[in-house]
């Protein structure tokens, strides 16, 4: 079965009038499987936006192939794609309905069909009852929500969302995550570019991390973040850890009266027995997992040339 998005060997070089060249994207390949949310991460200047622009026909690639639903990413293939740009801008004199009718017509929908869908669509993005409000009166977060509405207006099978939670308050960010999960569950494949690592970690099935125009890592979020061979233990019961554990534990931290530390997988039985003997309360034993922030910082901070999968 073809992938929702397939980018292979993408490269983009800009040439200045002086003849100097700048390679914004050196070599990027990524694939978004159907019905999944794929995160695209990277520091500023990593090539995320340029890669998206090449996929969306907004920039001409220097090299590489771009496919949407198995078809070359032409205007025809983009009929099945919805795009939310970072900080979307709309003509401020339009009402929400007028803006969505325009985008509906550009997507080949009749005015009647679009108008009929608008109340449900606006409710879905948290703008219920704002149909007749001019966009000049919309807050930054409301414009972001409207941007999402225009992206999913034509029920796309593929959605490309660039910083969808930008400008949203915490409740809005939660709503956005729920909406993305809802879209995925209804069969929409999503390519999500975001700086919000917590958002990526929460909703993405797979991630691709870019650095300096290349893929620094890619894979399932668990595979990237789980620390192989280590287990994280959380326990409480004393002011100091039992002496018998001193040679076995690492990454020790105390949080909320509980001790958190890592141990080798091979020592789990032994550590649990020691804690039991010392009458400690075992709160959790789970595979040790990096935070995405730590992983990301480590990767782009100097180890960013290795592809993790």
């Amino acid at each position: 079965m073809e992938r929702a998005i397939d980018i292979s060997g993408a490269r983009k070089t800009y040439k200045a009038f002086s003849g100097a060249t700048h390679e914004a994207v050196a070599d990027v390949s990524l694939a978004v499987e159907r019905g999944t949310i794929h995160g695209l991460l990277g520091p500023n200047g990593a090539g995320k936006t340029t890669t998206l622009k090449m996929l969306l026909g907004l920039a001409t690639p220097t090299d590489g192939t771009f496919q949407i639903n198995g078809q070359k990413a032409s205007a025809t293939a983009r009929a099945h794609l919805g795009f939310l740009p970072e900080q979307p801008y709309f003509s401020p004199q339009l009402t929400a309905t007028q803006a969505l009718v325009l985008y509906g017509r550009l997507s080949g929908q009749s005015k009647r069909d679009t108008v009929a869908r608008i109340p449900e669509l606006l409710e879905r993005v948290g703008l219920a009852g704002r149909e007749r409000m001019t966009l000049a009166k919309f807050s930054r977060g409301m414009l972001q929500r409207l941007g999402v509405a225009q992206a999913i207006l034509s029920n796309p099978s593929v959605a490309v969302l660039d910083e969808p939670a930008s400008g949203l308050d915490p409740m809005g960010q939660r709503d956005m995550r729920n909406l993305m999960l809802e879209l995925r569950d209804s069969g929409t494949s999503i390519l999500l570019s975001s700086h919000q690592l917590s958002e990526i970690e929460t909703v993405c099935d797979e991630v691709t991390i870019l650095n300096s125009g290349r893929v620094a890592a890619r894979g399932h979020i668990d595979d990237l973040l789980n620390v192989e061979g280590r287990t994280s233990v959380r326990a409480s019961g004393g002011e100091e850890l039992p002496a018998a554990l001193s040679d076995l534990v690492g990454d020790i931290a105390v949080s909320g009266g509980a001790w958190v530390f890592s141990i080798a997988d091979a020592d789990i039985r032994k550590v649990v027995d020691v804690l039991d003997d010392e009458k400690w309360r075992l709160l959790s034993v789970a595979p040790m997992r990096d935070s995405l922030e730590d992983y990301f910082a480590r990767l782009v901070g100097g180890e960013g040339t290795e592809v993790a999968s």
Partner: protein, 244 residues
């Protein structure tokens, strides 16, 4: 396909209606048209002819200002504000966007020029008891010529900012009306190869003569279609290669 271009054109018309500069120019031109009969040059025996000539000149200049205000900044501002992203990332070809932009500007020009012409006609009727129907021939020629200039402005605006578009468009107007001055007359071998918009200059027969016949009107439409096709094709080709 044309539906998407019409949707873009519709958004430009809606945007133009809300632009103050368009209304300011329209009101100014209307006031000027009403004031023409009070000009001191009247009373020399050619009142209606002078009125028609001044009215057509006024319509031409006012419509040129409105056209440039609409066409020069449309694409550059859409690129700058990135509103193009949500348009071109859809099933919208760049030529459809260019065509829609031009159609929108041209439609607004049609409305503006018709309003100017109607105002002039009413003033002429009230002042001289003459409905001056020939003004509409002049209005059509102005619409067609500003349509060509709008196509030029839209084409240039795919690769340049608004100031360059305005300067280039005014240069285009100058060059395309300088054939006689530069080449002398039809005897010059370059005469037929010179890019000229003189075909649309029918002020003399409209103001002072009996107007032009249907064949000439059709010739103007043919020249208009040829110019606009070439310019929009060039604009689309340039825009196709541009990263936005």
């Amino acid at each position: 396909m044309i539906g998407r271009s019409l949707a873009i054109a519709g958004s430009i018309i809606a945007d133009a209606v809300r632009r103050k500069v368009v209304w300011v120019v329209i009101v100014f031109a209307a006031v000027m048209a009403i004031a023409i009969p009070s000009l001191p040059s009247y009373g020399v025996g050619v009142i209606e002819a002078v009125f028609r000539e001044v009215a057509l000149a006024l319509i031409y200049v006012a419509s040129l200002v409105v056209m440039l205000s609409l066409a020069a900044n449309r694409i550059p501002s859409e690129v700058e504000r990135r509103t193009l992203y949500t348009v071109l990332s859809r099933d919208v070809r760049r030529w459809e966007y260019i065509l829609g932009t031009w159609l929108g500007v041209f439609a607004v020009m049609g409305g503006v020029i018709a309003a100017f012409c109607l105002t002039s006609q009413i003033v002429g009727l009230v002042a001289y008891g003459d409905p001056m129907w020939r003004l509409w021939e002049g209005a059509l020629s102005i619409l067609l010529e500003t349509g060509v200039i709008a196509a030029f402005a839209v084409a240039v605006s795919t690769v340049a900012g608004p100031v360059i578009v305005v300067v280039a468009s005014l240069g285009f107007v100058f060059v395309t009306h300088a054939r006689t001055g530069l080449l002398g007359g039809p005897d010059n071998t370059l005469w037929n190869f010179y890019p000229s918009l003189d075909t649309f200059n029918i002020i003399n027969p409209v103001a002072h003569g009996t107007g032009v016949d249907v064949a000439y009107l059709l010739l103007m439409v043919g020249v208009f279609i040829a110019w606009v096709s070439v310019l929009l094709l060039a604009g689309s080709t340039l825009f196709e290669k541009r990263d936005v």
